[in-house]
């Protein structure tokens, strides 16, 4: 029995009835207790008391990231301040931070959601959950932590950073489930190998729960190979809850949404009409149980699709596909949309180069130039310029085939691309600065 199996295997009809009941409560609660929703529902002519089916939600207006910024800090809270027990905030790198509040019950639900994912990864009370997501306002650290506690595992709150100490703990404390960003897991693996260790033997990992950034299937394979464990994707976002909104099971074929807590829609990003299951679009989330800061139809800007059909694992909660990336991370080169994960997929298929890369965007004479910086592995026969040039040509061709746009390849020395302890910096856009 894995954690909360009875919920993750609930009959669809029963689950949908529960969703409807909770959705009605949420809509009324938002309307009655949050000024923003009173106004936005009224303006859209949406009557929260008249809702009769899950489809009726489509008449409700959206909540955007900008709405959440405008509400800074407490305007989207639905409960008295004394009931709010914890606060998280988005990084706010692109503007004002967005704030999410949690009551005791919210923290419990959050822990439950992440704990289910630990269960999906075969984890339970006998496991040692090593959390090296950053602890703090970023939801990664505490989300994984509450999950570890909820499932009853021994939980080590490492937080991010001090990689040598992470390695020491991984070697000596029997850590079996590693929770961090995929790029930090790679950094830990590479650092351990550089130190002369063999993480396959010297660590005791069985699973990694890695999220907060999109990563390719090939990157996943490389990680699994280096650390001799199985990698599970996790999805979440501060504005809704944090990691645990959706989690991957053993099938590694999509992430099960915690549908008793969240209602998901996938919409055409331009028309905002729902797309059929299986088609890509923007993920929109309505919270069903969140007390402190519920959201209605939050536009995540994440691109995914509902995976049609049932999962082989037998759980009934529907799955979303692994993220292509966030619309925010997407960039355009000469009009062509590119997701960093597409570039990563190409890079990861080249064993000649290290698992670190960075894309630099510049503009020359009005034309976008994308330059992919890669590090070459020391084993590569660097002596022959012909071979280096041939590698560059092959990579360029592979990228062109994948992206339909030309990308320059620049080979740089080892460790010149900054290693990250949290989210990796994959794109450096210098185009705006040049225009100023």
């Amino acid at each position: 029995m894995a954690y909360q199996d009875e919920i993750t295997h609930m009959e669809r009809s029963e689950l949908e009835a529960l969703q409807l009941e909770r959705m009605k409560e949420t809509l009324v609660n938002c309307y009655e207790n949050i000024e923003f929703y009173k106004q936005s529902f009224d303006e859209a002519g949406f009557d929260p008391y008249a809702v009769e089916s899950l489809e009726d939600l489509q008449m409700a207006p959206f909540t955007t990231k900008q709405d959440m910024r405008d509400a800074y800090p407490y305007k989207l809270f639905a409960v008295p301040r004394e009931d709010v027990k914890e606060i998280h905030m988005s990084s706010g790198t692109t503007g004002v931070a967005t704030v999410s509040g949690y009551t005791d019950a919210d923290i419990k639900s959050w822990g439950d959601c992440f704990a289910r994912g630990i269960g999906y990864a075969g984890g339970g009370v006998d496991d040692v959950v090593h959390v090296c997501y950053g602890y703090g306002l970023f939801t990664g650290g505490l989300g994984a932590h509450y999950g570890g506690l909820a499932v009853g595992a021994e939980t080590i709150p490492m937080s991010a950073g001090n990689t040598k100490r992470q390695i020491k703990v991984l070697q000596s404390m029997g850590s079996s489930i590693l929770c961090c960003t995929p790029s930090y897991a790679m950094h830990i693996a590479d650092t351990a190998i550089e130190m002369g260790l063999d993480p396959k033997k010297d660590f005791t990992l069985k699973a990694g729960i890695h999220g907060a950034e999109a990563f390719s299937d090939q990157f996943r394979k490389n990680l699994e190979e280096k650390l001799n464990y199985k990698v599970y994707d996790v999805y979440g976002l501060t504005e809704v809850m944090g990691p645990g909104v959706a989690m991957e099971c053993d099938e590694q074929d999509g992430l099960h949404v915690a549908e008793d807590h969240f209602l998901v829609e996938v919409l055409d990003p331009e028309t905002h009409e729902p797309v059929p299951d299986g088609e890509w679009g923007e993920l929109v989330i309505t919270t069903l149980t969140k007390e402190a800061s519920p959201v209605v139809r939050y536009r995540t800007r994440d691109i995914t699709r509902i995976m049609p059909g049932e999962c082989a694992c037998g759980r009934t909660h529907r799955r979303i596909a692994r993220l292509h990336g966030r619309t925010d991370d997407m960039f355009k080169v000469r009009g062509v949309q590119v997701f960093p994960s597409q570039i990563e997929n190409v890079c990861a298929a080249f064993p000649e180069i290290a698992d670190w890369y960075q894309i630099e965007l510049t503009r020359e004479g009005g034309l976008d130039i994308a330059t992919l910086k890669i590090e070459i592995n020391p084993e590569f026969p660097i002596d022959e310029i012909r071979k280096i040039e041939e590698l560059q040509r092959r990579m360029q061709q592979a990228l062109k085939d994948e992206l339909a746009v030309s990308i320059n390849i620049k080979i740089v020395e080892p460790h010149t691309i900054q290693r990250s302890e949290g989210k990796a910096v994959r794109i450096v856009d210098l185009r705006d600065e040049e225009e100023k």
Partner: protein, 141 residues
């Protein structure tokens, strides 16, 4: 064959200096330096007196480096001297990937060739002196 130290260098200011300093700091002496350059990067090819020690030291210092086997041969210091050496290689159908000259301790001229092993027999058969590791390294490698 001789171990040539091969180093990948980005074309940035001071990078060659750092490389030479890193070798000097561990008391490694260079006999030769040949640079092959492109717009973005260069390849430094170095004959030194401790190639294995050099790879370890500069990898530690953050360079991408490895060892490449080359053949070093003394060239008679007379007009046409190098042509005679090349004749011997041509006669044996040896293909030269690249080559560069350096001066050895006796101020004689030495040429390093990136060639396959068969070059050694061809050169020695024609009466040229092919250098051995002990002629260049300060310690047995």
């Amino acid at each position: 064959m001789i171990d040539q130290l091969t180093v990948f260098l980005e074309n940035t200011k001071g990078r060659l200096t750092s490389l030479c300093r890193a070798l000097g700091d561990v008391n490694i002496q260079m006999h030769s330096l040949a640079l092959a350059d492109t717009t973005d990067y260069g390849i430094a090819r170095i004959i030194c007196d401790d190639p294995k020690g050099a790879v370890a030291a500069i990898s530690e210092a953050g360079f991408t480096a490895n060892l490449t086997k080359v053949v070093a041969v003394e060239v008679p210091d007379v007009p046409g001297g190098l042509a005679d050496v090349l004749d011997a290689l041509d006669g044996a159908d040896v293909n030269i990937e690249y080559s560069y000259c350096f001066a050895d301790a006796d101020n004689g001229a030495t040429v390093a060739f990136k060639v396959d092993q068969s070059a050694i027999a061809a050169l020695e058969g024609a009466g040229f002196k092919v250098l051995h590791p002990e002629d260049l390294y300060k310690t047995a490698q």
